[in-house]
Homo-oligomer: 120 residues x 4
Amino acid sequence: MTQDFMKDRPIYLQLIERICGDVIKGNIQPGDKLPSVREFALDAGVNVNTVQRVYKELEMMNLTETKRGQGTFITTNDDSIQHIREQMKEQVATQFITVLESLGFSVTEIIDLLQKKGGK
Amino acid sequence: MTQDFMKDRPIYLQLIERICGDVIKGNIQPGDKLPSVREFALDAGVNVNTVQRVYKELEMMNLTETKRGQGTFITTNDDSIQHIREQMKEQVATQFITVLESLGFSVTEIIDLLQKKGGK
Amino acid sequence: MTQDFMKDRPIYLQLIERICGDVIKGNIQPGDKLPSVREFALDAGVNVNTVQRVYKELEMMNLTETKRGQGTFITTNDDSIQHIREQMKEQVATQFITVLESLGFSVTEIIDLLQKKGGK
Amino acid sequence: MTQDFMKDRPIYLQLIERICGDVIKGNIQPGDKLPSVREFALDAGVNVNTVQRVYKELEMMNLTETKRGQGTFITTNDDSIQHIREQMKEQVATQFITVLESLGFSVTEIIDLLQKKGGK
DNA sequence: GTGGTCTAGACCACT
DNA sequence: GTGGTCTAGACCACG
């Protein structure tokens, strides 16, 4: 197919999603310290500035808190975390439905497919 | 929310989806002529170049055929249309699951939400 | 005095404030196009990336809207603008009071001073 | 709001302000001994170096005097204290007006708000 | 020509 | 050593 609906997403968005996902899944706990920007950058093989952007966005989402000179930590405010989880679920679902309908698919038709795929 | 996962889709992709959707839904029939690029651009309020790109991509997807001096027409090859429909369904579902899982949601959890939203 | 309470603010924050101020004052009208990032950078004598950061923040504040390939425009949503104006007023006043009180000044005492200074 | 105008003030500045405020308010009297740097650091939950910097700045402002082997004391020179008080009032007011005007607010408009808030 | 993303590398403030 | 700011310059997507 020549057209790739939903193309390559920017690195920084992918990283944000990954961290959000890890928090939601519990892989990272409230209060945990994230790696330093430099360490993270090295691990992920990206530039330090890219990571700094990620950390800044996370803080603006209230998912993290920054302690100057100490590092970046997952918020201990569980409400913030739940809030983000719900926001994201809502958002993902809504946009998915939008795309679906613009393509002429019914929701039930796709749910069938998801159920098959989800079982694998 | 500061981060909008999955927004900002290019205009030309949105237009492609819209046309694909219209074909799948039957709003546009095989053999139908699409508006001229200029007319379409005017209607949609976008740049002529954008429409040209859309038409080019549609042709590469075998959804349309171009007759020089006459215009662009939806293919009369029903297999092509069905093929595109299935491709797109697959692709949409697969990428949706990818995003879901990277965010830590289960497929069933989202299906529940889709079912509620789909009913409206 | 050795201590300068309220030090040098980052350039990008100063630029954000300047633009917000210009919008609030009406120097820039809803719908107006902002200079391109390159042009603005040249004018202000700062780096292009700095301006891009400014434009991005402004968009996240809903003060501007970006049209891809066309430029950045002040939102035509007057509510957004009023909202930002009120937010900023509230914020400025609140933080001012906080500083005041931490320094042991009464609000009335400072109001007197402001009134004298404001008259000049 | 994504942008917090005037936040993120360095800890050591906050501490200086707090101590200045306590002196102005009379919570701390001329001649009083300040806690040792270690004790203060422990109390405030900050780094010892930070407190050392605070004490150093206070001494340069002539608000405190250091007696070797005994500790740091608030100056008994009332003129120094009054002087600092006036300096700070001036400075706070001036910078506040600067910010206000750069944001397009009138002084009277903010005075109204301050009066409402100050009454609480 | 428009904004968006990313890199490399510098310097600063805070702990 | 931590994050924050800024620069210079590259490349990409979009119109």
